[in-house]
Protein backbone atom coordinates (compact mmCIF):
# COMPACT_ATOMS: atom_id res chain seq x y z
CA UNK A 1 0.00 0.00 0.00
CA UNK A 2 2.96 2.32 -0.35
CA UNK A 3 1.16 4.16 -3.14
CA UNK A 4 -1.47 5.37 -0.79
CA UNK A 5 -0.64 9.01 -0.41
CA UNK A 6 -0.17 10.30 3.08
CA UNK A 7 -2.69 12.70 4.47
CA UNK A 8 -1.47 16.07 5.60
CA UNK A 9 -3.37 17.66 8.41
CA UNK A 10 -2.99 21.41 8.04
CA UNK A 11 -4.27 22.05 11.52
CA UNK A 12 -1.44 20.04 12.94
CA UNK A 13 0.67 22.83 14.39
CA UNK A 14 3.99 22.41 12.67
CA UNK A 15 7.16 23.95 13.99
CA UNK A 16 7.46 27.71 13.97
CA UNK A 17 3.91 28.75 13.17
CA UNK A 18 3.27 32.43 13.43
CA UNK A 19 0.03 33.37 15.12
CA UNK A 20 -1.59 34.97 12.11
CA UNK A 21 -0.17 32.32 9.86
CA UNK A 22 -1.67 29.59 11.94
CA UNK A 23 -4.51 28.18 9.86
CA UNK A 24 -6.19 26.92 12.99
CA UNK A 25 -7.03 30.46 13.97
CA UNK A 26 -9.17 31.03 10.90
CA UNK A 27 -12.58 30.05 12.11
CA UNK A 28 -11.57 30.16 15.73
CA UNK A 29 -13.49 32.55 17.90
CA UNK A 30 -12.67 33.48 21.46
CA UNK A 31 -15.55 32.66 23.77
CA UNK A 32 -16.69 35.91 25.35
CA UNK A 33 -19.47 37.10 27.57
CA UNK A 34 -21.60 40.19 27.44
CA UNK A 35 -21.08 41.60 30.90
CA UNK A 36 -23.27 44.65 30.62
CA UNK A 37 -25.45 46.51 28.17
CA UNK A 38 -26.20 50.24 28.20
CA UNK A 39 -28.79 51.64 25.83
CA UNK A 40 -27.37 54.86 24.36
CA UNK A 41 -30.16 55.86 21.99
CA UNK A 42 -33.21 54.19 20.55
CA UNK A 43 -31.13 52.10 18.19
CA UNK A 44 -27.63 51.99 19.69
CA UNK A 45 -26.39 50.13 22.69
CA UNK A 46 -23.01 49.93 24.30
CA UNK A 47 -21.96 46.37 25.05
CA UNK A 48 -19.21 45.46 27.43
CA UNK A 49 -17.76 42.23 26.28
CA UNK A 50 -15.28 40.24 28.23
CA UNK A 51 -13.18 37.45 26.82
CA UNK A 52 -13.92 34.61 29.22
CA UNK A 53 -10.54 32.98 29.56
CA UNK A 54 -8.39 35.34 31.69
CA UNK A 55 -5.27 34.34 29.85
CA UNK A 56 -6.72 35.02 26.43
CA UNK A 57 -8.18 38.26 27.78
CA UNK A 58 -4.82 39.57 28.87
CA UNK A 59 -3.09 38.51 25.71
CA UNK A 60 -5.70 40.29 23.63
CA UNK A 61 -4.23 43.58 22.54
CA UNK A 62 -5.33 46.00 19.90
CA UNK A 63 -4.66 49.45 18.55
CA UNK A 64 -7.29 52.19 18.25
CA UNK A 65 -9.07 51.92 14.90
CA UNK A 66 -9.01 48.16 14.73
CA UNK A 67 -12.12 46.06 14.76
CA UNK A 68 -13.26 42.65 15.92
CA UNK A 69 -15.62 40.17 14.33
CA UNK A 70 -18.47 39.27 16.63
CA UNK A 71 -20.37 36.06 16.07
CA UNK A 72 -23.67 34.63 17.23
CA UNK A 73 -24.38 31.10 16.00
CA UNK A 74 -26.88 30.95 13.17
CA UNK A 75 -27.56 34.66 13.43
CA UNK A 76 -24.49 36.23 11.92
CA UNK A 77 -20.99 37.52 12.23
CA UNK A 78 -20.03 41.12 11.61
CA UNK A 79 -17.21 43.60 12.10
CA UNK A 80 -17.42 46.17 14.87
CA UNK A 81 -14.93 48.85 15.75
CA UNK A 82 -13.54 48.57 19.21
CA UNK A 83 -14.53 51.72 21.00
CA UNK A 84 -12.84 51.15 24.33
CA UNK A 85 -9.36 52.15 25.34
CA UNK A 86 -6.55 49.78 24.37
CA UNK A 87 -5.38 49.57 27.97
CA UNK A 88 -8.49 47.59 28.78
CA UNK A 89 -7.36 44.75 26.51
CA UNK A 90 -9.83 41.87 26.25
CA UNK A 91 -12.46 43.78 28.14
CA UNK A 92 -14.01 45.41 25.15
CA UNK A 93 -16.65 47.99 24.54
CA UNK A 94 -18.59 47.86 21.32
CA UNK A 95 -21.23 50.34 20.39
CA UNK A 96 -23.66 48.68 18.06
CA UNK A 97 -26.50 50.06 16.03
CA UNK A 98 -29.38 47.70 15.32
CA UNK A 99 -29.66 47.60 11.54
CA UNK A 100 -29.88 43.98 10.51
CA UNK A 101 -29.97 40.39 11.58
CA UNK A 102 -27.09 40.17 13.96
CA UNK A 103 -27.39 43.65 15.37
CA UNK A 104 -31.14 43.37 15.95
CA UNK A 105 -30.68 40.08 17.71
CA UNK A 106 -27.97 41.61 19.86
CA UNK A 107 -30.44 44.30 20.80
CA UNK A 108 -32.72 41.62 22.27
CA UNK A 109 -30.03 39.72 24.05
CA UNK A 110 -29.56 39.83 27.82
CA UNK A 111 -26.51 40.38 29.94
CA UNK A 112 -24.57 37.16 30.42
CA UNK A 113 -25.03 35.91 26.90
CA UNK A 114 -22.17 34.19 25.12
CA UNK A 115 -20.70 35.61 21.93
CA UNK A 116 -17.69 34.69 19.85
CA UNK A 117 -14.98 37.27 19.25
CA UNK A 118 -12.18 37.10 16.75
CA UNK A 119 -9.56 39.64 15.92
CA UNK A 120 -8.42 42.27 16.34
CA UNK A 121 -8.26 42.94 12.65
CA UNK A 122 -7.26 45.77 10.39
CA UNK A 123 -5.14 48.85 10.46
CA UNK A 124 -5.18 51.51 13.14
CA UNK A 125 -4.78 55.24 13.57
CA UNK A 126 -1.08 56.24 13.86
CA UNK A 127 -1.31 57.69 17.37
CA UNK A 128 2.45 57.52 17.84
CA UNK A 129 3.07 59.74 14.83
CA UNK A 130 0.40 62.14 16.01
CA UNK A 131 2.22 62.87 19.25
CA UNK A 132 3.21 66.48 19.62
CA UNK A 133 0.70 67.55 17.02
CA UNK A 134 -2.74 69.12 17.05
CA UNK A 135 -5.51 66.62 16.52
CA UNK A 136 -8.87 66.97 14.84
CA UNK A 137 -11.32 64.19 15.51
CA UNK A 138 -14.31 64.56 13.23
CA UNK A 139 -17.21 62.16 13.50
CA UNK A 140 -20.65 61.98 11.98
CA UNK A 141 -23.37 59.72 13.29
CA UNK A 142 -22.06 56.30 14.15
CA UNK A 143 -18.61 57.57 13.14
CA UNK A 144 -18.03 58.58 16.75
CA UNK A 145 -17.69 54.89 17.58
CA UNK A 146 -14.35 54.21 15.88
CA UNK A 147 -13.23 57.67 17.08
CA UNK A 148 -13.81 56.85 20.71
CA UNK A 149 -10.90 54.46 21.07
CA UNK A 150 -8.26 56.91 19.75
CA UNK A 151 -9.96 59.64 21.74
CA UNK A 152 -9.72 57.71 25.00
CA UNK A 153 -6.15 56.88 24.19
CA UNK A 154 -5.33 60.53 23.61
CA UNK A 155 -7.07 61.54 26.81
CA UNK A 156 -5.12 58.98 28.77
CA UNK A 157 -1.91 60.52 27.43
CA UNK A 158 -3.23 64.04 27.12
CA UNK A 159 0.11 65.77 27.69
CA UNK A 160 1.70 64.14 24.66
CA UNK A 161 -0.58 65.89 22.20
CA UNK A 162 -1.16 69.48 21.21
CA UNK A 163 -4.55 71.05 20.80
CA UNK A 164 -7.37 68.45 20.55
CA UNK A 165 -10.65 69.25 18.84
CA UNK A 166 -13.59 66.90 18.65
CA UNK A 167 -16.32 67.73 16.19
CA UNK A 168 -19.30 65.52 16.30
CA UNK A 169 -22.55 65.78 14.40
CA UNK A 170 -25.71 63.75 14.54
CA UNK A 171 -29.06 63.96 12.81
CA UNK A 172 -30.96 64.87 15.98
CA UNK A 173 -30.23 65.32 19.69
CA UNK A 174 -31.82 61.94 20.39
CA UNK A 175 -29.23 60.29 18.19
CA UNK A 176 -26.17 61.68 19.95
CA UNK A 177 -24.00 58.95 21.41
CA UNK A 178 -22.03 58.93 24.65
CA UNK A 179 -23.74 62.13 25.91
CA UNK A 180 -22.97 61.12 29.50
CA UNK A 181 -19.27 61.37 28.78
CA UNK A 182 -19.05 64.84 27.23
CA UNK A 183 -18.42 66.57 30.55
CA UNK A 184 -15.65 64.16 31.40
CA UNK A 185 -14.04 64.66 27.99
CA UNK A 186 -14.20 68.44 28.31
CA UNK A 187 -12.29 68.24 31.56
CA UNK A 188 -9.24 67.06 29.67
CA UNK A 189 -8.70 70.40 27.99
CA UNK A 190 -10.21 69.60 24.67
CA UNK A 191 -12.61 71.52 22.44
CA UNK A 192 -15.77 69.57 22.05
CA UNK A 193 -18.08 70.84 19.34
CA UNK A 194 -21.42 69.17 18.95
CA UNK A 195 -24.02 69.90 16.33
CA UNK A 196 -27.27 68.37 15.15
CA UNK A 197 -29.08 68.62 11.84
CA UNK A 198 -32.55 68.83 13.33
CA UNK A 199 -33.40 70.20 16.79
CA UNK A 200 -36.09 69.49 19.25
CA UNK A 201 -37.30 71.54 22.21
CA UNK A 202 -34.86 70.10 24.71
CA UNK A 203 -31.82 70.97 22.63
CA UNK A 204 -29.68 73.86 23.82
CA UNK A 205 -26.69 73.27 21.62
CA UNK A 206 -26.00 74.20 18.07
CA UNK A 207 -27.75 73.23 14.91
CA UNK A 208 -26.19 72.87 11.52
CA UNK A 209 -23.79 70.82 9.52
CA UNK A 210 -20.52 69.54 10.85
CA UNK A 211 -18.75 71.39 8.07
CA UNK A 212 -19.75 74.67 9.70
CA UNK A 213 -18.06 73.62 12.93
CA UNK A 214 -15.02 72.68 10.96
CA UNK A 215 -15.02 75.97 9.07
CA UNK A 216 -14.90 77.85 12.35
CA UNK A 217 -12.01 75.75 13.54
CA UNK A 218 -10.16 76.34 10.32
CA UNK A 219 -10.62 80.13 10.60
CA UNK A 220 -8.77 79.99 13.91
CA UNK A 221 -5.57 78.81 12.26
CA UNK A 222 -3.71 80.04 9.25
CA UNK A 223 -2.83 76.66 7.90
CA UNK A 224 -3.23 73.08 9.02
CA UNK A 225 -0.22 72.04 7.04
CA UNK A 226 2.52 71.60 9.59
CA UNK A 227 1.14 70.68 12.95
CA UNK A 228 -2.17 68.86 12.49
CA UNK A 229 -3.53 65.36 12.06
CA UNK A 230 -7.18 64.62 11.37
CA UNK A 231 -9.28 61.53 11.82
CA UNK A 232 -12.58 61.52 9.97
CA UNK A 233 -15.27 58.90 10.49
CA UNK A 234 -18.79 58.97 9.22
CA UNK A 235 -21.01 58.36 6.24
CA UNK A 236 -19.49 58.63 2.75
CA UNK A 237 -21.08 62.03 2.01
CA UNK A 238 -19.45 63.47 5.07
CA UNK A 239 -16.00 62.18 4.08
CA UNK A 240 -16.42 63.86 0.82
CA UNK A 241 -17.10 67.35 2.12
CA UNK A 242 -14.96 67.27 5.21
CA UNK A 243 -11.89 65.91 3.47
CA UNK A 244 -12.23 68.44 0.69
CA UNK A 245 -12.44 71.26 3.19
CA UNK A 246 -9.43 70.03 5.12
CA UNK A 247 -7.40 69.69 1.94
CA UNK A 248 -8.27 73.24 1.00
CA UNK A 249 -7.19 74.36 4.45
CA UNK A 250 -3.80 72.90 3.68
CA UNK A 251 -3.90 69.61 5.54
CA UNK A 252 -1.79 67.11 3.58
CA UNK A 253 -3.72 64.08 2.45
CA UNK A 254 -1.42 61.66 4.21
CA UNK A 255 -2.17 63.33 7.55
CA UNK A 256 -5.88 62.78 7.24
CA UNK A 257 -7.28 59.38 8.25
CA UNK A 258 -10.61 57.82 7.50
CA UNK A 259 -12.24 54.55 8.49
CA UNK A 260 -14.16 52.86 5.69
CA UNK A 261 -17.07 50.52 5.88
CA UNK A 262 -17.76 47.62 3.57
CA UNK A 263 -19.67 44.41 3.84
CA UNK A 264 -17.33 41.85 5.40
CA UNK A 265 -17.86 38.15 5.57
CA UNK A 266 -14.51 36.98 6.85
CA UNK A 267 -12.46 39.91 8.06
CA UNK A 268 -9.42 37.99 6.92
CA UNK A 269 -8.83 39.08 3.35
CA UNK A 270 -10.43 36.05 1.77
CA UNK A 271 -14.04 36.68 0.91
CA UNK A 272 -13.42 39.72 -1.28
CA UNK A 273 -16.62 41.37 -0.16
CA UNK A 274 -14.83 44.38 1.28
CA UNK A 275 -12.43 44.78 -1.61
CA UNK A 276 -11.91 48.02 -3.37
CA UNK A 277 -9.79 46.94 -6.30
CA UNK A 278 -7.43 44.57 -4.63
CA UNK A 279 -7.37 46.63 -1.51
CA UNK A 280 -9.03 44.79 1.30
CA UNK A 281 -10.86 46.96 3.77
CA UNK A 282 -10.23 44.30 6.37
CA UNK A 283 -6.48 43.91 5.86
CA UNK A 284 -5.33 47.20 4.36
CA UNK A 285 -8.02 49.11 6.24
CA UNK A 286 -10.43 49.99 7.67
CA UNK A 287 -8.14 52.91 8.50
CA UNK A 288 -6.68 54.54 5.42
CA UNK A 289 -5.03 57.85 4.89
CA UNK A 290 -6.95 60.08 2.55
CA UNK A 291 -4.29 59.84 -0.13
CA UNK A 292 -4.83 56.09 -0.46
CA UNK A 293 -8.57 56.50 -0.52
CA UNK A 294 -8.32 59.10 -3.27
CA UNK A 295 -6.47 56.55 -5.32
CA UNK A 296 -9.04 53.83 -4.82
CA UNK A 297 -11.83 53.74 -7.32
CA UNK A 298 -15.31 53.78 -5.85
CA UNK A 299 -13.92 53.91 -2.33
CA UNK A 300 -16.37 56.42 -0.93
Amino acid sequence: MQNKLTFLDVLDPGPGTHRKQDPGSFEYTLPAEITSIYPLTASEKLYQIQIIDPDQRNRFSFRPGQFVMLELPGIGEAPFSISSSPVRRGDLELCIRAVGNLTNFLARIERGARVGISGPFGTSFPLKKMQGQDILLIGGGLGIVPLRSPLLSVLENRSRYGRVDIMYGAKSPAELLFTYQYEEWRRFDINLGITVDRTDKSWQGRTGLITELLQERIYQTTSLRNNTYAIVCGPPVMFHFVCKMLTEAGLPMQKMFVSLERRMHCGRGKCCRCNIGSTYTCLDGPVFDYWSVMNLKEAI
Binding site: L72, P73, G74, I75, G100, N101, N104, F105, R108, I109, E110, G112, A113, R114
Partner: protein, 272 residues
Protein backbone atom coordinates in the same frame (compact mmCIF):
# COMPACT_ATOMS: atom_id res chain seq x y z
CA UNK B 1 -44.86 21.79 22.51
CA UNK B 2 -46.03 23.87 25.47
CA UNK B 3 -42.67 24.98 26.75
CA UNK B 4 -41.45 28.42 25.90
CA UNK B 5 -39.20 28.65 22.84
CA UNK B 6 -35.93 30.46 23.19
CA UNK B 7 -32.70 30.89 21.34
CA UNK B 8 -29.44 32.02 22.94
CA UNK B 9 -31.40 33.07 25.95
CA UNK B 10 -33.75 35.28 23.98
CA UNK B 11 -37.36 34.16 24.45
CA UNK B 12 -39.17 33.61 21.17
CA UNK B 13 -42.84 33.65 20.43
CA UNK B 14 -44.22 30.55 18.78
CA UNK B 15 -46.22 32.12 15.97
CA UNK B 16 -49.84 31.18 15.38
CA UNK B 17 -49.91 30.13 11.79
CA UNK B 18 -52.76 29.69 9.35
CA UNK B 19 -52.71 28.19 5.87
CA UNK B 20 -55.27 29.27 3.30
CA UNK B 21 -55.84 28.55 -0.32
CA UNK B 22 -57.47 30.47 -3.09
CA UNK B 23 -57.41 29.24 -6.71
CA UNK B 24 -54.55 26.78 -6.82
CA UNK B 25 -53.52 23.17 -7.00
CA UNK B 26 -52.80 23.17 -3.24
CA UNK B 27 -49.39 21.80 -4.07
CA UNK B 28 -47.54 24.43 -2.09
CA UNK B 29 -49.42 23.51 1.09
CA UNK B 30 -48.75 19.91 0.31
CA UNK B 31 -45.05 20.67 0.13
CA UNK B 32 -45.24 21.50 3.81
CA UNK B 33 -46.63 18.05 4.59
CA UNK B 34 -43.92 16.72 2.32
CA UNK B 35 -41.32 17.60 4.96
CA UNK B 36 -41.58 14.15 6.51
CA UNK B 37 -38.11 14.23 8.00
CA UNK B 38 -38.54 17.57 9.73
CA UNK B 39 -42.31 17.84 10.02
CA UNK B 40 -42.35 17.30 13.76
CA UNK B 41 -39.69 19.95 14.37
CA UNK B 42 -41.64 22.28 12.15
CA UNK B 43 -44.79 21.63 14.14
CA UNK B 44 -42.96 22.40 17.35
CA UNK B 45 -41.76 25.72 16.03
CA UNK B 46 -45.18 27.07 15.12
CA UNK B 47 -48.70 26.69 16.37
CA UNK B 48 -50.91 25.78 13.46
CA UNK B 49 -54.33 27.23 14.01
CA UNK B 50 -55.79 26.88 10.57
CA UNK B 51 -54.94 24.32 7.93
CA UNK B 52 -58.09 23.15 6.17
CA UNK B 53 -56.31 20.63 4.02
CA UNK B 54 -54.85 18.94 7.07
CA UNK B 55 -57.03 19.57 10.09
CA UNK B 56 -60.58 20.22 11.26
CA UNK B 57 -59.92 22.69 14.08
CA UNK B 58 -59.94 26.34 13.08
CA UNK B 59 -58.71 29.51 14.74
CA UNK B 60 -59.36 33.07 13.77
CA UNK B 61 -56.32 35.11 14.58
CA UNK B 62 -52.86 34.30 13.49
CA UNK B 63 -49.44 35.85 13.46
CA UNK B 64 -48.61 34.50 10.05
CA UNK B 65 -51.08 33.68 7.31
CA UNK B 66 -49.70 31.69 4.42
CA UNK B 67 -51.97 32.22 1.46
CA UNK B 68 -51.65 30.00 -1.53
CA UNK B 69 -53.30 30.57 -4.90
CA UNK B 70 -54.43 33.49 -6.94
CA UNK B 71 -57.65 35.45 -6.87
CA UNK B 72 -60.02 34.43 -9.65
CA UNK B 73 -63.48 35.06 -8.19
CA UNK B 74 -65.10 37.88 -6.24
CA UNK B 75 -65.70 35.84 -3.09
CA UNK B 76 -61.98 35.22 -2.94
CA UNK B 77 -61.31 38.94 -2.62
CA UNK B 78 -63.55 38.99 0.42
CA UNK B 79 -61.88 35.93 1.94
CA UNK B 80 -58.45 37.39 1.30
CA UNK B 81 -59.40 40.71 2.88
CA UNK B 82 -60.67 38.85 5.93
CA UNK B 83 -57.43 36.86 6.20
CA UNK B 84 -55.43 40.05 5.88
CA UNK B 85 -57.41 41.60 8.73
CA UNK B 86 -56.68 38.69 11.05
CA UNK B 87 -53.02 38.29 10.21
CA UNK B 88 -49.98 40.16 11.40
CA UNK B 89 -47.84 38.90 8.54
CA UNK B 90 -49.39 37.85 5.29
CA UNK B 91 -47.23 35.59 3.18
CA UNK B 92 -47.91 34.94 -0.48
CA UNK B 93 -47.11 31.26 -0.82
CA UNK B 94 -46.05 30.12 -4.25
CA UNK B 95 -46.15 31.56 -7.74
CA UNK B 96 -49.97 31.67 -7.98
CA UNK B 97 -50.13 33.95 -4.97
CA UNK B 98 -47.06 35.97 -6.00
CA UNK B 99 -47.72 36.43 -9.70
CA UNK B 100 -50.99 34.75 -10.61
CA UNK B 101 -49.18 31.53 -11.52
CA UNK B 102 -50.38 29.27 -14.32
CA UNK B 103 -53.89 30.53 -13.63
CA UNK B 104 -53.08 33.84 -15.26
CA UNK B 105 -52.48 32.09 -18.58
CA UNK B 106 -56.16 32.52 -19.26
CA UNK B 107 -55.76 36.30 -18.94
CA UNK B 108 -53.99 36.33 -22.27
CA UNK B 109 -57.25 35.82 -24.15
CA UNK B 110 -58.90 39.07 -25.01
CA UNK B 111 -62.39 37.63 -24.74
CA UNK B 112 -63.15 36.25 -21.26
CA UNK B 113 -66.43 34.85 -22.45
CA UNK B 114 -64.67 32.68 -24.96
CA UNK B 115 -62.65 31.21 -22.10
CA UNK B 116 -65.80 30.33 -20.18
CA UNK B 117 -67.50 28.88 -23.24
CA UNK B 118 -64.49 26.80 -24.18
CA UNK B 119 -64.74 24.91 -20.91
CA UNK B 120 -68.32 25.18 -19.71
CA UNK B 121 -70.31 25.79 -22.86
CA UNK B 122 -73.43 27.71 -21.96
CA UNK B 123 -73.46 26.70 -18.31
CA UNK B 124 -73.21 29.92 -16.24
CA UNK B 125 -69.99 30.08 -14.25
CA UNK B 126 -68.50 32.91 -12.26
CA UNK B 127 -64.89 33.89 -12.73
CA UNK B 128 -62.64 36.86 -13.37
CA UNK B 129 -59.08 37.50 -14.46
CA UNK B 130 -56.50 35.76 -12.28
CA UNK B 131 -54.69 38.16 -9.95
CA UNK B 132 -51.80 37.93 -7.52
CA UNK B 133 -52.66 38.69 -3.89
CA UNK B 134 -50.82 41.98 -3.96
CA UNK B 135 -53.43 43.37 -6.33
CA UNK B 136 -55.88 43.44 -3.43
CA UNK B 137 -54.03 43.37 -0.11
CA UNK B 138 -50.65 44.22 1.27
CA UNK B 139 -48.30 41.25 1.05
CA UNK B 140 -45.53 41.25 3.65
CA UNK B 141 -43.47 38.42 2.32
CA UNK B 142 -43.38 36.39 -0.86
CA UNK B 143 -42.26 32.82 -1.13
CA UNK B 144 -41.69 32.12 -4.78
CA UNK B 145 -41.84 28.91 -6.73
CA UNK B 146 -44.14 26.47 -8.41
CA UNK B 147 -44.00 24.54 -6.25
CA UNK B 148 -42.33 26.23 -3.31
CA UNK B 149 -39.20 24.57 -2.06
CA UNK B 150 -39.79 23.12 1.37
CA UNK B 151 -36.25 23.79 2.56
CA UNK B 152 -36.74 27.42 1.71
CA UNK B 153 -40.01 27.64 3.62
CA UNK B 154 -38.40 26.01 6.62
CA UNK B 155 -35.55 28.45 6.50
CA UNK B 156 -37.91 31.38 6.18
CA UNK B 157 -40.11 30.20 9.02
CA UNK B 158 -37.10 29.66 11.28
CA UNK B 159 -35.82 33.11 10.35
CA UNK B 160 -39.18 34.65 11.18
CA UNK B 161 -39.30 32.88 14.52
CA UNK B 162 -35.80 33.96 15.57
CA UNK B 163 -36.42 37.41 14.13
CA UNK B 164 -34.09 37.49 11.16
CA UNK B 165 -35.16 39.39 8.10
CA UNK B 166 -35.80 37.24 5.12
CA UNK B 167 -33.62 38.02 2.13
CA UNK B 168 -34.27 36.38 -1.18
CA UNK B 169 -31.35 35.86 -3.50
CA UNK B 170 -31.29 38.75 -5.92
CA UNK B 171 -29.22 36.97 -8.55
CA UNK B 172 -30.55 34.61 -11.22
CA UNK B 173 -30.81 30.82 -11.33
CA UNK B 174 -27.65 30.50 -13.51
CA UNK B 175 -25.60 31.20 -10.41
CA UNK B 176 -26.97 28.13 -8.62
CA UNK B 177 -27.05 26.12 -11.81
CA UNK B 178 -23.35 26.62 -12.35
CA UNK B 179 -22.60 25.85 -8.73
CA UNK B 180 -24.29 22.51 -9.36
CA UNK B 181 -21.80 22.00 -12.20
CA UNK B 182 -24.49 21.61 -14.82
CA UNK B 183 -23.69 21.97 -18.45
CA UNK B 184 -25.68 24.91 -19.71
CA UNK B 185 -28.86 23.78 -21.43
CA UNK B 186 -28.37 26.35 -24.16
CA UNK B 187 -25.21 24.46 -25.07
CA UNK B 188 -27.29 21.32 -25.21
CA UNK B 189 -29.78 23.01 -27.49
CA UNK B 190 -32.55 23.76 -25.04
CA UNK B 191 -34.02 27.08 -23.99
CA UNK B 192 -33.86 28.26 -20.39
CA UNK B 193 -34.99 31.25 -18.35
CA UNK B 194 -32.25 30.73 -15.79
CA UNK B 195 -30.39 33.93 -16.74
CA UNK B 196 -33.30 36.13 -15.69
CA UNK B 197 -35.17 34.15 -13.06
CA UNK B 198 -34.66 34.74 -9.34
CA UNK B 199 -32.52 32.07 -7.73
CA UNK B 200 -33.31 30.29 -4.49
CA UNK B 201 -34.58 27.00 -5.90
CA UNK B 202 -31.01 25.67 -6.14
CA UNK B 203 -31.56 25.33 -9.89
CA UNK B 204 -34.20 22.73 -9.31
CA UNK B 205 -35.20 22.23 -12.92
CA UNK B 206 -31.93 22.77 -14.71
CA UNK B 207 -30.15 20.35 -12.39
CA UNK B 208 -32.67 17.83 -13.67
CA UNK B 209 -31.79 18.81 -17.19
CA UNK B 210 -34.99 20.70 -17.70
CA UNK B 211 -34.93 24.32 -18.81
CA UNK B 212 -36.13 26.90 -16.31
CA UNK B 213 -39.63 28.26 -16.95
CA UNK B 214 -39.28 31.18 -14.62
CA UNK B 215 -41.63 30.09 -11.86
CA UNK B 216 -39.86 32.31 -9.32
CA UNK B 217 -40.26 35.46 -11.34
CA UNK B 218 -37.59 37.93 -12.39
CA UNK B 219 -34.25 38.31 -10.63
CA UNK B 220 -33.44 41.74 -9.26
CA UNK B 221 -31.38 42.88 -12.23
CA UNK B 222 -33.01 40.68 -14.87
CA UNK B 223 -31.59 41.64 -18.24
CA UNK B 224 -34.56 40.62 -20.32
CA UNK B 225 -33.44 42.35 -23.49
CA UNK B 226 -30.29 40.29 -23.46
CA UNK B 227 -32.27 37.13 -22.82
CA UNK B 228 -34.27 37.79 -25.95
CA UNK B 229 -31.02 38.29 -27.80
CA UNK B 230 -29.68 34.97 -26.51
CA UNK B 231 -32.83 33.08 -27.43
CA UNK B 232 -32.51 34.34 -30.98
CA UNK B 233 -28.82 33.53 -31.13
CA UNK B 234 -29.52 29.98 -30.09
CA UNK B 235 -32.31 29.65 -32.61
CA UNK B 236 -35.44 29.71 -30.49
CA UNK B 237 -38.47 31.42 -31.90
CA UNK B 238 -40.55 34.02 -30.17
CA UNK B 239 -43.28 31.56 -29.20
CA UNK B 240 -40.80 29.38 -27.36
CA UNK B 241 -39.63 32.38 -25.36
CA UNK B 242 -43.19 33.46 -24.73
CA UNK B 243 -44.29 29.99 -23.62
CA UNK B 244 -41.84 30.29 -20.79
CA UNK B 245 -42.16 33.97 -20.01
CA UNK B 246 -45.94 33.71 -19.88
CA UNK B 247 -46.21 30.54 -17.89
CA UNK B 248 -46.21 31.74 -14.29
CA UNK B 249 -46.97 35.43 -14.52
CA UNK B 250 -43.73 36.76 -13.06
CA UNK B 251 -42.68 38.10 -16.43
CA UNK B 252 -46.16 39.09 -17.58
CA UNK B 253 -45.39 42.69 -18.46
CA UNK B 254 -42.30 41.77 -20.42
CA UNK B 255 -44.20 39.05 -22.26
CA UNK B 256 -46.86 41.61 -23.15
CA UNK B 257 -44.18 43.89 -24.59
CA UNK B 258 -42.88 41.09 -26.75
CA UNK B 259 -46.39 40.23 -27.90
CA UNK B 260 -46.99 43.86 -28.75
CA UNK B 261 -43.73 44.09 -30.70
CA UNK B 262 -44.57 40.86 -32.50
CA UNK B 263 -47.61 42.57 -33.95
CA UNK B 264 -45.46 45.41 -35.25
CA UNK B 265 -42.32 43.87 -36.63
CA UNK B 266 -41.73 40.58 -38.41
CA UNK B 267 -39.64 37.98 -36.61
CA UNK B 268 -36.02 38.97 -36.38
CA UNK B 269 -33.66 36.83 -38.31
CA UNK B 270 -31.45 34.59 -36.22
CA UNK B 271 -27.70 34.87 -36.18
CA UNK B 272 -26.10 31.99 -38.00
Amino acid sequence: MDEQLSYLGVPLIRPRVGFFELSSCEGCQLQLLNNEATLLDFLNLVEIVNFREGMSERGDTYDIAFVEGSVTRKDEIARLTEIRKNAKILVALGSCACFGGVNQLKNRFRDPDWVKKEVYGDFPIETMEAHPLADFVQVDLSIFGCPIKKEEVERIVTDLVVGKTVHHPEYPVCMECKANENICLFELGEPCLGPVTRAGCDAWCTSNRRGCWGCRGPAEAANLKQLEEIMHTYGFDRETILDRLECFGGFASFADTIRAQAKKSPARRKKS
